[in-house]
């Protein structure tokens, strides 16, 4: 009698599409946000007293390019992750293909413009005038 054992793993050709990329992006950004967002909450609200969160404190933080990059990554991943979630919800309830397309374009433009606009604000922030020497 022939007896087989073990699990057979097979490679398959998978057709990619936008939804697959969106799914992978949500997983990747979700894991990244676990580090970035939890780190942000810990630093801003646990290690530092939220009542002392003044412009001077923010300026001192953004005096470092490391923290500027951290906050820009937080902005990029959190905003695009959230807006893709919104896109998913809207696509559930909007059934007209043309309307879906318009909504998606509006959301994409909103995400790109907001990230660029906020990114410029963070990158060009000059901390010097707000830091008490």
């Amino acid at each position: 009698m022939t007896t087989l054992s073990g699990v057979t793993h097979r490679k398959v050709q998978v057709r990619s599409n936008f939804e697959r990329f969106a799914f992978l992006f949500m997983r990747l950004s979700g894991v990244t946000l676990l580090v970035l967002a939890v780190g942000h909450v810990l630093i801003q609200h646990v290690l530092n007293d939220v009542h002392n969160l003044t412009l001077e404190v923010v300026a001192a933080t953004w005096n470092s390019w490391g923290w500027k990059v951290y906050d820009m990554l937080l902005l990029i991943f959190a905003f695009s992750h959230g807006m893709n979630g919104l896109r998913n919800v809207l696509e559930d309830y909007i059934h007209n293909a043309k309307t879906v397309k318009i909504v998606n374009i509006v959301l994409a433009v909103f995400v790109v413009v907001t990230i660029i606009w906020a990114g410029i604000a963070i990158a060009s922030f000059d901390a010097a005038p707000f830091i008490n020497n």
Partner: protein
């Protein structure tokens, strides 16, 4: 013991919209099933009540209804599960997301079309083994899709899914479960054809992982887990 039943009624030849029919049944037993009570309403009070049922033992999947707000099989749901005391209130309505034909009967065509779209049958063009015996498979390979072989196509999962309620083009949990059953079968040769269907815009990506389907399944299939396994195959390209 007494049961106060509220049953959603709709007769397309008479009614412009649905309404609640109220019926009181005396001398019921905690071990009676909801199907027993529906039979008593139909046979003793109002013979026009329309419902689907067949085996009455949780195998055929005909009598999935929304009972007290949750999808269940009427034949497997005992009165004792719905309440205790002298009077038990039970509300029965058609499963959601499918067109109501009459009373508790819904149009299952959209559901069955999604099921058929995943090619829910064994595909292997190689000749059968010469000895006339079955195509062999290891116990480990068989175990991978054991859970999803249990589906009875009652539609309790698909019609408990908010994504399906929102858009009936979503193929739904039942179709994905049946795709899983063959995608993970090492003897089957058409996983890519099925992955093309479930990987489409209205395939697995519409699943929001809210576990309604898993809770609704009368066969206790871990549906959300099966959907996640299909998503993983689509993400990695490896079964």
């Amino acid at each position: 013991m007494q049961a106060q039943l509220r049953i959603r009624r709709y007769n397309p030849e008479k009614d412009t919209s649905g309404y609640w029919g109220e019926y009181t049944l005396n001398n019921i037993n905690p071990n009676d099933s909801v199907l027993d009570l529906l039979h008593r309403v139909k046979w003793e009070i109002d013979g026009t009540l329309a419902l689907r049922r067949s085996c009455a033992h949780g195998v055929c999947g005909s009598d999935a209804f929304r009972i007290n707000g949750t999808n269940m099989l009427a034949c497997k749901t005992l009165v004792s599960r719905l309440g205790a005391g002298e009077t038990v209130k039970i509300q029965v309505e058609p499963i959601l997301g499918l067109r109501v034909i009459k009373d508790l009967i819904v149009d299952m065509e959209p559901f069955m079309n999604h099921y058929k779209s995943v090619l829910p049958y064994f595909i292997n063009d190689e000749a059968a083994p010469e000895n006339g015996r079955e195509r062999l498979q290891s116990q480990e390979d068989r175990a991978r899709f054991d859970d999803t072989t249990k589906c009875i196509l009652c539609a309790a999962c698909t019609t408990s899914c908010p994504s399906f309620w929102a858009n009936e083009r979503y193929i739904g949990p039942a179709a994905i479960v049946n795709a899983h059953r063959f995608i993970f079968d090492s003897r089957d040769q058409a996983p890519e054809k099925r992955l093309a269907v479930v990987g489409d815009t209205f395939g697995v990506w519409r699943c929001r992982t809210n576990f309604n389907c898993t809770n609704a399944c009368p066969r206790e299939i871990e549906i959300t887990k099966a959907i996640a396994e299909v998503k993983k195959v689509l993400a990695t390209g490896e079964i």
